[in-house]
């Protein structure tokens, strides 16, 4: 490409994302909050990076995940780490709570939206503080919501029915994890940018626990596939 000096003088704005992460699903359960996300970063329609661990632990009792432009996610992780680090400077034992992170991110996103140069992300902050669960959603515009369950991306379309039928906020950790796994099964079938390897993490009063990535159960041995019923029509 020929270097165009005019372009460098202009302010560049994010108009469309390049490397993107998939849907995030987070549910509160009795005693904490559990979050699930797949391990794929897509380069447009190409499944480029398939082993990405996308759950960031920003403090002892807070985790942060997002879907959207992955480089923005990495930048936000750095910004959130700055807050916790500055707490060390004061040395007074006061650390930000999960809600502090959620609100800070909402303010940051809103500021960027006002400059028409957004952080191209749907953000989820999950945590446990002072005996209370916390689950917050911050979208690309800086809208801030706290809720018992949160979905981003295609999960908002495909998974809410599953969640409302099989989950309530008093369920056990294993029940909540199972609901999330079911959701990702459906997403892998229906969302073109989804992946079958997911990572779960949960936060309870002991703090944040990140688990190893796991493969979602999928079923491909349907008789229609095996017998290849359609193929016979085309081999003449």
């Amino acid at each position: 490409m020929i270097f165009n000096p005019e372009f460098s003088a202009q302010q560049q704005h994010t108009t469309s994302p390049i490397v993107t992460g998939g849907s995030v699903i987070a549910l509160a359960y009795k005693g904490g909050v559990v979050v699930g996300v797949d391990t794929l970063c897509s380069y447009g329609s190409m499944a480029d990076f398939k082993n990405v661990e996308k759950i960031a632990q920003v403090s002892k009792n807070t985790i942060y995940v997002s879907s959207g432009e992955f480089s923005d996610f990495q930048q936000v992780v750095r910004e959130l780490a700055k807050i916790d680090r500055s707490a060390l400077q004061y040395d007074d034992g006061v650390h930000p709570s999960p809600r502090d992170y959620g609100n800070y991110l909402a303010r940051l996103s809103y500021k960027r939206r006002c400059k028409i140069n957004p952080l191209y992300l749907q953000n989820v902050i999950a945590g446990f503080h002072n005996g209370e669960r916390y689950l917050g959603l911050v979208d690309i515009y800086g809208t801030y919501l706290e809720s018992n369950f949160v979905t981003t991306g295609f999960a908002s379309y495909f998974c809410k029915a599953i969640i409302s039928n099989y989950w309530n906020d008093n369920c056990t950790l294993d029940q909540a994890k199972q609901v999330i796994r079911e959701c990702f099964k459906v997403l892998f079938c229906r969302d073109c940018r989804a992946h079958d390897v997911i990572q779960l993490a949960y936060v309870d009063e002991q703090g944040a626990h990140l688990e190893q990535p796991e493969r979602v159960e999928t079923k491909w041995d349907f008789s229609g596939f095996k017998n290849r019923a359609n193929e016979k029509l085309h081999t003449q």
Binding site: D92, G93, V94, P96, D100, N103, R107, N130
Partner: protein, 248 residues
Amino acid sequence: MLKHLYDTDCVTWSPQGKLFQVEYAMEAVKQGSICLGLKSNENVVLCSLKRQPSELAGYQEKQFKIDDHMAIAIAGLTADARVLCKYMRTECLEYKYTYESHHPVGRLVFKVAEKSQHKTQSGAKRPYGVGLLVAGIDPNGVHLFETCPSGNYYEYKCQAIGSRSQAARTYFESWFHLFEKSTLEQLILHGLSAIKKAIMEDEELNEKNVEVGILGKNLKFTHLNAQELKDYITKLDTFSPNSQIQQE
């Protein structure tokens, strides 16, 4: 000691290792009328004696709310106090805007101390001539801090600053072991008793010249109104710390 050789500005040490300008600024605090603070496990109380410049004038307020969970009582130059008060209020508002929660108290006092210290290390500036008693509640608990023109700050269970504050501090030394478990009412009565020790013989406490501010874990900062002050001052006659010991 030839003080006048070393006391022109903040950037000159004396041979004894003192910064006289800073010490003179602390004198300004000692000339202000008394204010004191004391805390229990649940509450902080600030009491101050208001000065009336003349019979025609009103009484000078000494306590200012910084945020729902924090307040200050001042002794010294009121104009300097206003500057620090505005700074503290702005910091609290910005913190609330960004995090939707209350500014940790110790952290704000640290910021004020930094600001004060800055003024003691420049040829062109003078230290703030005011001492603050900062009362506040945050997730770390109930706090009472004192800030100095020197840029130092200290955390206290109870403290009195300003003119004749030694008398109040002597009262505190005898009775502060009761404060932790005191009720709000007992705390207010202790505060008023301590102030009573510090007034001149021909003066008397009344609802016009005394200011009491209260703060609690579930209680936003408020001033006692005139009627409440009158009632408490009346109760002082029958209040004795000894009776509190007998109750426990």
